[in-house]
């Protein structure tokens, strides 16, 4: 006889969400996939709430839906409703659905075409996100600028008067997302200098639509291209002073995020290895500009403390990654596991190389050296696999020494 689980009641969820919040990454990914697959999520959606911050760093591929695609590029400025206060340079998550609803109605057939194009796809399909997203983001500016609060807005428990300014800001930002995306692509994420005209056009676009959205725009920019800070600090022209104020506010928000109780945890210690090393590079770039004075910030004195926090977060992430993703798996590793071990080792080295600018040099050296010794002692691994893992973790000289050792010396 098939077992049919009793329906989940709202009052059951309190205990479950607490358990879910503390679940390991793999379980979190499974839970999210299950909830995402539900046709009607209802109360189960609440399960996801305590996971938002971890999802932001775990970034599991999520099914592409209209609302998710629409707000995908604004993710860094979206906060849980409970954390949001009027006047804050952020958007409460509960506001997303009503705004998406407005857009869907206004776009009509075009919205249904987007629905059809994204059905069955996930957020990991970056090309699809870019192509379908650009249609949506371009349309959002004009539609949200004049939108009125839909009936759904009542469920947000945010004052009705707040809808119009929030929608206008979101629209102003979304309308510039295709251009920001293009700027990122054109600079190959900072490798090439950005076109001053393109940068100016984005700033002017937001400024003209809703000046109050500028701090959020700058934050979105710095999140993707932190090296823009020094350029924005010296922004010429009439908009210069406003851009500088927006930059100050954006930097304050970014530093607030880092100094928050779980700020470093969210961005580094709880992130995937690749995301963590990108985050460290981004943070280091931003802090360097504040420290060397190319970007003026009243909080310059805090940089040393932030560095220490980031350093601690990096070391913690490195230590757990080394233990969980490499050392703990060595003994049982089969041939099929070796590529994953190597990928993890590479991710760790990428993180460690970026993290050294924050500190911890001797700690990393010690951990890497211990890991290399553990790999050398692991008899279950193929000799070449051992050499390659030692190479990745301890460098090619250590690996060559191992390779050149005579069999009787091993």
């Amino acid at each position: 006889m098939a077992f049919c689980p009793p329906p989940l009641r709202d009052r059951d969820l309190g205990g479950v969400t607490r358990d879910v919040a503390g679940a390991p990454d793999a379980q979190v990914m499974r839970i999210v996939a299950t909830v995402d697959a539900m046709a009607s999520r209802g109360a189960a959606d609440d399960l996801i709430v305590p996971l938002r911050q971890r999802l932001a760093v775990l970034r599991p591929p999520r099914p592409l839906r209209f609302v998710r695609l629409l707000f995908h590029p604004l993710d860094p400025v979206i906060v849980p409703a409970a954390q949001w206060r009027p006047g804050q340079d952020e958007i409460p998550r509960t506001a997303l659905m009503p705004m998406a609803d407005c857009l869907r109605h206004a776009m009509g057939v075009q919205a249904r075409a987007i629905d059809a194009a994204i059905r069955g796809h996930t957020t990991s399909e970056t090309a699809l996100v870019a192509t379908q997203g650009q249609i949506l983001w371009s349309a959002a500016g004009a539609i949200l600028a004049n939108a009125t609060a839909p009936p759904l807005w009542r469920e947000t428990e945010v004052a009705e008067a707040m809808f119009a300014p929030l929608a206008r800001r979101a629209g102003a930002l979304l309308a510039q997302m295709p251009a920001l995306h293009r700027l990122c692509v054109e600079t190959v994420h900072g490798l090439l200098p950005p076109s001053p005209e393109a940068l100016q056009a984005i700033l002017q676009g937001v400024s003209a639509a809703d000046e109050t959205a500028l701090p959020m725009l700058v934050r979105l920019m710095l999140n993707r291209l932190p090296q823009l800070a020094s350029l924005l600090a010296t922004h010429p022209g009439a908009a210069g002073p406003q851009v500088k104020v927006a930059l100050d506010q954006a930097i304050d928000s970014l530093l607030d995020q880092l100094t928050a109780e779980d700020g470093v945890q969210a961005q580094i210690a709880g992130a995937g290895l690749a995301e963590a090393s990108v985050a460290v590079r981004r943070i280091a770039t931003l802090l360097r500009q504040i420290e060397d004075g190319t970007v003026r910030s009243a909080r310059r004195a805090q940089v040393a403390v932030i560095r220490q926090q980031v350093d601690a977060g990096c070391r913690a992430r490195f230590a757990t990654g080394l233990q969980d993703q490499v050392l703990a798996r060595l003994h049982m590793a089969t041939d099929q596991d070796v590529p994953a071990l190597e990928a993890a080792a590479r991710g760790l080295r990428a993180l460690e190389t970026e993290a050294r600018v924050m500190g911890g040099r001797s700690a990393y050296d010690r951990m890497l050296s211990q890991a290399a010794e553990a790999i050398k002692a692991e008899n279950g691994l193929d000799r070449t696999d051992q050499v390659r893992l030692v190479e990745i973790l301890a460098g090619s000289d250590a690996a060559l020494a191992m390779l050149d050792r005579r069999p009787d010396e091993r």
């Binding site: 054109e186 990428a350 190389t353 050499v387 390659r388 190479e391 000289d397």
Partner: protein, 371 residues
């Protein structure tokens, strides 16, 4: 011992293919575009492009390379193997690189790819040797088109080729077994070319097809958005690739034409084996270095990755030495002997530091895509 600082040679226009060196599939990001060539003093030396992307190259021995940075174990093992391999040409490089990959130093996927490539090379050599014998018999004692060969006729070919070699031996001043060895050697040399006009499985036609695929993909991408061109870089690369492919196709056709005369080739082989080697390997030399360019492009899927690939490829476009113009009957435009584009950068962050680890992994993936 203190090492002197590497010396940048600002003007590098190699006169010969051997002076240009052989493209080497190093996995160390900082060695991208480095070629290896024979050296009277040190056995082999490396021609390392100016890391800034500017003009000039460094000519270094392996110790000199190690003073610039730390190469991967794969690259060290490859150099050790090349150092003891004698004559250095694209075939020797390929053979050494496949052996190192098969030993696992470029990762597990590359082991599978190398094993397959070695098996394919063996099969193509065998096929080329056999087709040369068939053509030789057809040339000396015509029996009809080779395409209609049956098992019985293959046995017949064996018998008849022996007779033909015995007949040719006194005219060429060699024993029949020596002539057969010569045919086998010519078969090995011509295997990458493929003897049949429609043979698309041989390595050079496959490389030309890959170049065509790359060129089409690049040109489609450039057409889709003018902004992709990065100030003309994309078009310069596409033009250089088209030119190289055109020369490659022409040389392939000429080489296949030469292979249609096995008696003439055998005669040349007896008198001057190096001249046959030159004929059979000229397409390999001309196209040397282009496979990596294609792989870089074809592995880049997003717009951003493709822009990055263009910046990398700009440093790697193989420039033909002046010898190319005189070496083949095919016209080689002067443009093909000049670096078509340069990308200079003030810093190496994209391929050093933390980024280097991902790039090594990427380079190993490209090794696994190599055929």
């Amino acid at each position: 011992m203190r090492q002197s600082a590497p010396f940048l040679i600002e003007t590098h226009h190699p006169a010969t293919f051997r002076a240009r060196g052989v493209a080497t599939p190093f996995t160390t990001p900082l060695l991208a575009g480095t070629r290896v060539r024979e050296s009277e003093k040190t056995g082999i030396e490396l021609v390392v492009p100016n890391p800034s992307g500017g003009r000039g190259v460094y000519i270094l021995d392996w110790a000199g390379v190690r003073s610039l940075g730390t190469p991967t174990v794969h690259d060290t093992v490859l150099i050790r193997r090349l150092s003891g391999s004698g004559r250095l040409d694209p075939a020797a490089m390929r053979s050494a690189a496949l052996a190192v990959a098969q030993d696992g130093y470029a990762g597990r996927d590359a082991v599978v790819a190398a094993t397959q490539a070695i098996a394919d090379t063996g099969a193509q050599s065998l096929q080329a040797h056999f087709l040369l014998i068939v053509r030789l018999v057809e040339q000396v004692q015509p029996i009809g088109p080779a395409a209609t060969l049956t098992a019985a006729r293959i046995g017949d070919i064996d018998r008849r080729s022996s007779a033909v070699l015995h007949r040719l031996a006194p005219m060429m001043g060699r024993a029949p077994a020596e002539l057969n060895d010569g045919l086998r050697a010519i078969g090995d040399l011509s295997a990458p070319i493929g003897l049949a006009d429609q043979d698309g499985d041989a390595r050079i036609p496959r490389l030309l097809a890959r170049m065509q695929e790359t060129q089409d993909s690049l040109e489609d991408w450039l057409r889709a958005d003018m902004g992709h061109d990065l100030g003309g870089l994309g078009r310069a690369i596409a033009r250089a690739m088209r030119m190289a492919a055109d020369i490659g196709h022409a040389v392939l056709a000429l080489t296949r034409a030469a292979l249609a005369d096995p008696v003439g080739l055998l005669r040349r082989w007896c008198a001057e084996p190096d001249s046959v080697t030159a004929i059979a390997t000229r397409a390999d030399w001309l196209l040397d270095g282009w496979e990596w360019v294609c792989l870089l492009w074809l592995a880049a899927m997003s717009d951003e990755a493709r822009r990055m690939a263009l910046l990398e490829i700009a440093q790697l476009i193989p420039v033909q030495p002046t010898e190319a113009g005189a070496w083949t009957d095919v016209a080689v435009p002067a443009e093909a002997m000049q670096q078509p584009c340069r990308v200079t950068s003030r810093e190496n962050a994209w391929r050093s530091g933390g980024a280097a680890f991902a790039l090594i992994g990427r380079n190993e993936s490209l090794r696994a895509m190599s055929r």
